[in-house]
């Protein structure tokens, strides 16, 4: 029989057992009822994997429906961290095979540490021999995957590179600033690719699969199809773009071709350029530096982002301002003897033309003529006309960046230089020198405004947005940004003068039989070297359909260097075959 003390001890047993069972039950309650929802979510995350179904990026077509940018299938080498065994042995081997530093692989793995079941991309667009070598050594490279992914394909390489733009992996800053993007996404970094990125990229689909503890997929639970990105029909005309690039050749410069009626950009050239295909597979930083730094600003779009002294193309503004203010008329005559006196200062022109009327003054680009006009009209009036023609301000083109340039006036000079506007400043400004800075795009729009009778168009690169799923076409229309308000007599005189430039003036090199062209040359002196060669033109004169600006950096003579490029562009635009003999520009065509 149990003794009295042992009964106490058995009661002690009961107490301890009760305590232990209570602890277990309490813990069970805590885990299942209090924190149950949290653990349920963890168990769902355990078993569910969302695989991304990439959405094909929208195609870019030229205005006639010819593809400029599409996608091609390529191999991507990825690493699945949770299946990686023996990283000390595998990673160095992989680094050698892929030709990337082992530290880069480690960095990428470290970034993806929190999601070990998601493949980490190591090399996009891997060469076929690399893929073959990995396939052969599959057993020695656990966790290494080869996936097929679309890669952006720029069909014509560097053609229109600055207008089209390029892709790159999204940066941390971009990721923070945008919603709906994920680490490792490719995103438009410049050009149309960047501005229209949301339309082009479409929506990624999702395949939800159930996996076991080793990450092996067991079955598809749900499928959310991807939606292909929208395609864009650009305003670019492949023929004109190619002709412009060919004509510019290896010279550093820019060509902008607009439709003066609506601002559509028919060609946008900047040279030197780059091949966006290089970036499409995810560029390495070394390569990028080599491209953007060492080889001289290839990524810079000289057509829109660089500014230049306008030189004599600015005489369009001077002439328009003088006619508008009445400081000159069609009948104004000036003695172009090569010398202009302003107080005790004497300005020397490079050539003398005798007494010229307004039309001839413009046609010959006589500096004395314009010094006279500028002095009569005044800097502020010229600046006002320049702004009315869209200089010194962004054009509003659908590109991620654009330079506003600068049009100075007396207030500006007082503010920034602390000096009043001197009469000499009038003379300088009249021939497009001084502090003035413009972009080739602005000059193209300026000449377009003369061509279309005074409407300041908004240049744009996209005509239509096409949804490949529904086939719906959305037309992109952009209204003008302003009007110049030309008086009819001013416009008529100006146009007549610009036509004379081509017929008998400095721009004869552009002339094409059967096509009436108006334009203005420029040779802009600049502190960095030889003058920049300019040419701005529109055609046909009676019903202009083309307006263009050509700039050749340090090309010296607008009439000799820039005008033939404009001529090639116009031939392409109007389908006129180039005549066998190339016409030489006149000796006068120096400005």
């Amino acid at each position: 029989m149990a003794s009295e003390p042992s009964a106490k001890r058995i009661a002690g047993f009961a107490a301890v057992a009760t305590l232990l069972f209570t602890v277990l039950l309490g813990r069970l309650w805590q885990l299942q009822v209090v924190q149950g929802a949290y653990y349920l979510q963890l168990s769902e995350e355990n078993r569910l994997r969302d695989l991304r179904l990439p959405a094909p990026r929208g195609i870019l077509y030229d205005r006639k429906g010819r593809p400029l940018v599409s996608n091609r299938a390529a191999f991507t080498v990825s690493l699945l961290a949770m299946e990686l065994r023996d990283p000390e042995r595998v990673l160095p081997r992989l680094a050698v095979l892929l030709g990337i530093p082992v530290e880069t692989i480690r960095d990428r793995l470290a970034q993806a540490r929190s999601r070990p079941f998601e493949p980490v991309r190591l090399l996009r667009d891997a060469p076929k021999n690399v893929v073959a070598m990995i396939e052969e050594n599959r057993l020695d490279l656990p966790g290494v995957l080869i996936e097929v992914e679309p890669v952006r394909h720029y069909l014509y390489g560097a053609l229109a590179a600055h207008a089209l733009g390029y892709l790159g992996e999204i940066s941390a800053d971009e990721l923070a600033a945008r919603s709906g993007y994920r680490m490792g996404d490719l995103i438009g970094k410049s050009g149309t690719e960047r501005i229209y990125d949301r339309k082009l990229r479409g929506h990624e689909g999702r395949l939800r699969v159930e996996v076991d503890a080793r990450g092996r997929p067991l079955g598809v639970l749900s499928r959310e199809p991807s939606h292909a990105g929208k395609s864009l029909v650009l305003t670019i005309d492949l023929d004109i773009q190619r002709a412009a690039e060919a004509a510019l050749g290896e010279q550093t410069g820019a060509v902008v071709v607009l439709d003066p009626r609506n601002g559509e950009v028919l060609a946008l050239v900047s040279h030197p350029a780059f091949d966006p295909n290089v970036f499409a597979a995810g560029i390495t930083p070394e390569r990028w530096r080599q491209l953007s730094g060492d080889t001289g600003l290839r990524l810079l779009s000289r057509a829109t982002d660089a500014t230049y002294e306008p030189g004599s193309v600015f005489k369009v503004v001077t002439a328009a301002a003088a006619l508008t203010r009445g400081t000159a008329t069609r009948e104004t005559r000036v003695n172009c003897n090569g010398i202009f006196r302003l107080g005790r200062w004497v300005f020397h022109d490079l050539a003398a033309y005798g007494t010229v009327d307004f039309i001839t003054g413009v046609a010959k680009s006589c500096n004395v003529f314009f010094w006279t006009l500028g002095t009569r009209t005044g800097g502020d009036a010229m600046a006002e006309m320049a702004r009315a023609l869209g200089l010194g301000a962004r054009t509003g083109i659908d590109l991620p960046s654009e330079n506003a340039g600068l049009i100075p006036d007396s207030a500006w000079k007082r503010r920034t230089q602390g000096e009043p506007w001197y009469p000499g400043d009038n003379a300088n400004m009249a021939i497009g020198q001084g502090w003035m800075n413009v972009t080739p795009l602005q000059i193209a729009r300026m000449i377009a405004a003369v061509a279309n009778g005074g409407t300041l168009v908004r240049p744009h690169l996209v005509r239509q947005v096409i949804d490949p799923a529904t086939g719906t076409v959305e037309r992109v229309t952009t209204g003008p940004t302003g009007t110049v308000g030309f008086r009819p007599d001013v416009l008529a005189t100006l146009r007549e003068a610009l036509e004379a430039v081509v017929v008998r003036g400095t721009g004869r090199a552009v002339a094409i039989p059967g096509l009436a062209i108006a334009g203005k040359t420029g040779s802009a002196e600049n502190p960095r070297g030889q003058p920049h060669a300019w040419f701005a033109a529109y055609a046909p004169v009676d019903q202009p359909r083309i307006a263009l600006a050509v700039l050749v950096e340090h090309g010296r003579r607008g009439g000799l260097v820039a005008a033939p490029i404009a001529r090639a562009v116009l031939q392409a635009a109007f389908g006129i075959p180039a005549p066998p003999e190339a016409r030489e520009g006149g000796e006068e065509g120096i400005r």
Partner: protein
Amino acid sequence: MKRLLRDLDVPLLVITLLLVGYGMILLASATASLGGPWGYIRTRLFHLLVALAALVGVLLVDYRRVAGAWKALYAANLVLLVAVLLVGVTRLGAQRWIALGPFGGFQPSELAKIVLIITLARHLDGRLPPATVAGVVPYLLHMGLPLLLIIRQPDLGTAMVIGAILVGMLFLAGVRLRVLGSLGGLALMGAPFLWSLLHDYQRRRLVVFLDPTVDPLGAGYALTQAKIAVGSGQLWGKGLFAGTQNLLRFIPEQHTDFIFTVVGEELGFVGGMVLLALFALWVWRALHIASTAGDRLGQLIAGGILTMVVFHVFVNVGMTMGLMPITGIPLPFISYGGSSLLGMFVATGLLLNVRMRRRKILF
């Protein structure tokens, strides 16, 4: 014989069979992803048959006579434990099994616990409880020799169970709390030495128990996944055969040591509570048998078995919920494994034996 049968503790037998039945259902679900449950169920039924036979066998012989053979029992136990170390089979990194041909393997440490309960009870019976730490030394030696052999396998879990049995039986024998406290103090002082005896993986388990995030894909994996499984069951569970942690094999050893995760995940708090309630009833019967035992020997045996089962349940269930370190001891009557089931049925048989023979037998 009739009288003996009249004193058979039917509730304990029923509770035991209910536990085994519950375990069988869980086994079916736990092995659904291991190539189908039928092979496991069949083996389990065979184990059950053997275990029931052993239970009946234990019932037939008076526990006093069993304890009387303590020398033979103790010696046989040592022989088996040494045999494991010499010819044992290594599974999962530990040498705990003796191969038995078509019957699989036998784990002597599962029976060693029972033998030590019987022999220690006999050792303590009829002696005054030791009043000093020095007086406890003989009992420490009694348990210590087989304990060392078991640690060698290594089987840290069973070693801990034997330690618990020793403490529980000394307590029941009336050893003063002060002496037990001193023993605890000595054990703590010896802890660094014990730590040095541990294998690397055992140390890792202990570190991970304190902080599972140390190594989420390695040693902490089992603990993390077990907690996710249990917690995600919520109040009612995901349903039998519907636990994703179980079926997709996120839980290692989900049909043996981690079988409680299957209850927790698939049957929820309610299912877990029912299981714990069955164990509580079992313990209640064992307490009743201990308190009504016919003699001190029977009481000590019942107390030892009680301690063993409570410790098993607490450590096993506690480990799946992050309350205890992962030590790999089975959940009595539930975990898949023949030796464990056999040991638990022999223990149950001993309890029934003590209950049945609480009155002096009159021939």
